[in-house]
């Protein structure tokens, strides 16, 4: 059995398992904290800085990212102070100035009543949250994409711009918080547009429908040691 930790969020007592961090506990308990680079299925990273809260511990109060801060006995978490609002607003302004046409960001921005960022607008799509990379590495296990360069030149993509390790599973498409990884599918092939990866689809021997990229199925067969003909028919026909 895991040890339970007690602490407060905005004055309300909460309980959580040792080892978790503040953000998921706050969300479960109905507190609202905006967040972009956090996802339950992958490890926290602390990149977007939108989930900032104030944490008081041992008499010292400081601004910190709630997705990476561990739950600790007796801490007081404040999710809606003047400082928190001021900092989140500026982070949002910075993100909006970087990626002005992302709907998810526009929505968050308007919730914070930001009309227009005070910085020159750029035309990026990716906010460098790193979720796609973590899902690809930690969940899919393909390690097909990574960060490269640093500072304001940082980018996300396949190493050396060669997507050869991508199995076109689409997991990254699903987790991207600003919807900038597009997937296109036809009868014959599937393309992950952002990584410029196109793979042929496997057709079911029974019903003739295409059901997944051929490469992805090969990869799964390899990983979990399935029989050679396992994916000859689609899951529907397999029953």
């Amino acid at each position: 059995m895991k040890t339970m930790i007690e602490f407060t969020i905005d004055g309300v007592g909460v309980e959580a398992e040792e080892g978790s961090t503040i953000l998921p506990v706050a969300l479960e308990n109905g507190f609202e904290i905006p967040h972009l680079c956090y996802h339950d299925e992958v490890s926290p990273y602390g990149a977007c800085r939108l989930c900032l809260v104030e944490v008081e511990r041992g008499g010292r109060r400081r601004l910190t990212a709630s997705c990476t801060y561990p739950v600790l006995e007796g801490i007081q978490v404040l999710t809606d102070t003047e400082k928190v609002r001021k900092a989140r607003r500026m982070i949002m302004e910075l993100l909006l100035a970087r990626c002005p046409d992302r709907e998810a960001l526009q929505e968050l921005g308007s919730q914070m009543e930001i009309e227009k960022p005070r910085f020159e607008l750029r035309e990026e799509e990716c906010i460098l949250c790193g979720l796609c990379e973590r899902v690809c590495r930690e969940v899919v296990g393909a390690n097909a994409i990574s960060f490269f360069s640093r500072g304001y030149k940082k980018e996300m993509g396949p190493p050396f711009r060669d997507p050869k390790a991508c199995i076109a599973c689409g997991a990254c498409v699903y987790v991207c918080p600003v919807d900038c990884i597009k997937m296109e599918e036809t009868e014959e092939e599937r393309t992950i547009v952002r990584w410029e990866r196109t793979l042929p689809m496997k057709k079911c021997k029974a019903c003739g429908q295409s059901f997944a990229p051929w490469f992805q199925l090969e990869y799964i067969k390899e990983k979990v040691k399935l029989p050679k003909d396992f994916f000859d028919v689609c899951p529907d026909c397999r029953g």
Binding site: P44, Y45, G46, A47, C48, R49, L50, L52, L63, T64, A65, T68, Y69, P70, K83, K86, A87, M90, I91, L94, L95, A97, R98, R118, F119, E120, I127, L128, G130, F147, S149, R150, G151, Y152, K153, K154
Partner: protein, 618 residues
């Protein structure tokens, strides 16, 4: 052949033997072969000295000692002639025969090679009379000038490894930690964390094995004290690490050195090997059951790799990116094991504290910062180099007494301390005692120990832009606040210096600076706004002049200045006309010259060339 030392008595006997062999009255020429003097060609001087000695059959009587950096690199190559302690500077290969015939053989001083005090014009004969050295307190750095870094015997002869023997045989690990706590030593890597406390937490942390690491990444482009210590006295760092490892209970150490420091790596490697031969490192140190070995790891070079969590990530072979560390690295560091990281200079302080006692050590410095600190003094100051001063010395003493003041009769404007993310401190605070807390209070920091002096010719907006430019490049780019924030601060500063500044820019910089400092993950973002916020705090009028009057008071920002010729002062000599690369100056004999603003590219050549101060910058 080095025989293994099996107990402290062996070590003492060896020391006595070595000391007897080293006659302090022997004629000795000490040549600095640090990186600075190396660049000025000391290698050739050393070979020339050897050749000349041989020619004169003096090799038996006169010893040549090749040492690490003495600190006064600007004056290199440096030679000190013992036993008189004659100080020769800017020595050239051509001077070598004369040094031998005049100084060594006849005992005459060669006037031309003496150092001239730029303030008084006085010639200085002896090393310890040079004002640059006189006010320093060189407890850490001093030995650099007297030992050959590739000889462990030199180090043992001056008392080396005595502290290690004392720590192992007269003290328990807890007593060592208590002693380091009482000494008041704080980390020299920038943060100023109390070293004894860190050791204690690491010793008490559950989990095996424990690691100790020496941070020699030194990413601040202007700093080179860690490099000079490792190059010039590697055993002092090593001895500190062995004592620390024993106190903490660690058997594995790492030195993380940036890859641009080949000489440091080479000298450290030699030191490791020699210490192992004597049994001062490796298995069963000094006959005890304690084992400790050290590995050298070469850093990739990015500034952020010096940050503790990024450093440990790169040691593990992962991208050198900082991680959130609400669980401190002393509990969960390298490979998630208890890990104690200290800076090179911090480690070098340890043997002194143990050897001379924490009480002795704690006398030096201020209430909250004990001991000394090595600074890299550069910029608009007469004497530049590495200076080791007691904590609590004032900025004025460093700039004027050690640094010899501002050259060319110019006026002091500010001193920037702490490396790229330090702040700029104005003249009104020159009497500030230098220690960790005072520097932070005024919006700067101790940081890496960089110290850049600026005069009236420096534009503070331009200075802020320069540092932010470095930091936006070096940000790892993980957090929005640091990555986007430093980039936007740079853009705003660039606009201001280019004449595109708008009302509200300063306030926006302040707001942004607050968020970058408060919301970022690691201390790079946490301190990055310092150069901007401190220049706004102390030099707001310069920002206003750029924005409202489109004027750069220091005459630096090209878009905001104009070169004109004062016809009263112009003698029509024509020098500027010839110097101008853009054909912008017209005039004839006896006719005062004029600058065509359309053609002028603002290169400043005319100012340089005019002997009558007739070209004005506005």
């Amino acid at each position: 052949m080095r025989e293994r030392l099996r107990n402290p008595e062996n070590l003492e006997r060896l020391r006595q033997k070595l000391q007897k062999e080293r006659d302090p009255n022997k004629r000795r020429i000490t040549v600095c072969a640090g990186t600075g003097c190396g660049a000025y060609g000391c290698g050739e001087i050393i070979s020339a000295l050897k050749k000349e000695l041989k020619k004169r059959k003096l090799q038996q009587d006169v010893e040549i000692k090749v040492t690490g950096c003495h600190g006064f690199c600007e004056r290199g190559p440096l030679l000190v002639i013992n036993p008189q302690k004659l100080f020769y500077q800017k020595v050239q290969v051509e001077d070598v025969p004369e040094i031998l015939s005049e100084t060594i053989e006849k005992g005459n001083v060669i006037d031309r090679l003496l150092y001239v005090n730029p303030v008084t014009g006085e010639k200085i004969v002896h090393e310890d009379e040079v004002p640059f050295y006189k006010l320093q307190e060189r407890i850490i750095f001093g030995s650099n000038g007297s030992i050959d870094p590739t000889s462990i015997e030199d180090y043992i002869a001056i008392g080396g490894y005595r502290a290690l023997a004392k720590a192992f045989f007269d003290m328990s690990p807890e007593e060592i930690i208590e002693s380091v706590k009482r000494s008041g030593l704080r980390g020299r890597g920038g943060g100023g964390f109390p070293t004894g406390l860190k050791w204690e937490s690491c010793r008490k942390a559950p989990g095996e094995p424990r690691y100790v690491i020496c941070n020699a990444d030194e990413g601040d482009p202007g700093a080179y004290m860690d490099r000079s210590l490792l190059e010039g006295n590697p055993h002092s760092v090593l001895e500190g690490m062995v004592i620390g490892a024993y106190a903490i209970g660690s058997n594995q150490g790492h030195v993380f050195v940036r890859k641009e420091y080949p000489l440091a790596v080479q000298n450290l490697r030699i030191a490791l090997q020699q210490a192992e031969e004597y049994g001062l490192l490796g298995e069963g140190i000094l006959g005890t059951g304690f084992d400790f070995s050290v590995r050298i790891n070469r850093g990739g070079g990015a500034f952020v790799c010096g940050e503790s969590s990024a450093l440990m990530a790169s040691l593990e072979g992962q991208p050198g990116e900082p991680r959130a560390k609400h669980i401190h690295t002393v509990i969960s560091g390298l490979y998630d094991k208890p890990t104690n990281l200290n800076n090179v200079e911090t480690w070098a302080n340890v043997p002194l504290i143990i050897d001379k006692g924490d009480q002795w050590y704690a006398q030096l410095g201020t209430e909250g910062s004990k001991g000394t600190k090595i600074f890299s003094l550069v910029g608009k100051v007469n004497n530049t180099g590495l200076v080791e001063v007691p904590m609590g010395i004032t900025l004025r003493e460093i700039v004027y007494d050690i640094g010899g003041g501002i050259p060319g009769g110019k006026k002091f404007k500010a001193v920037q301390t702490g490396g790229p993310s330090g702040g700029c401190i104005p003249e009104s605070l020159l009497d500030l005692p230098v220690d960790f807390d005072r520097l932070t209070e005024v919006g700067s920091m101790m940081g890496s120990g960089g110290m850049i002096v600026m005069d009236e010719g420096n534009c503070m907006v331009d200075v802020a832009k320069y540092f932010i430019n470095f930091l936006r490049d070096e940000s790892c780019g993980k957090c929005t606040s640091c990555r986007e924030g430093t980039q936007r601060m740079y853009e705003i500063l660039d606009d201001i210096t280019e004449g595109r500044g708008k009302r509200g820019d300063v306030e926006l910089l302040e707001e942004l600076g607050w968020v970058v400092a408060e919301a970022s993950l690691c201390a790079l973002g946490g301190t990055a706004p310092n150069p901007v916020l401190s220049t706004i705090q102390y030099f707001r009028d310069e920002y206003e002049a750029h924005i409202k009057e489109k004027r750069c008071p220091a005459g630096v920002c090209k878009a905001l200045i104009q070169y004109t010729i004062d016809s009263e002062l112009c003698t029509a000599c024509g020098r500027c006309r010839k110097a101008c690369p853009s054909d912008a100056i017209s005039g004839a004999k006896k006719v005062p010259h004029k600058i065509d603003q359309e053609k002028c590219i603002k290169c400043g050549m005319c100012v340089e060339s005019c002997k009558f101060d007739a070209v004005k910058v506005q």
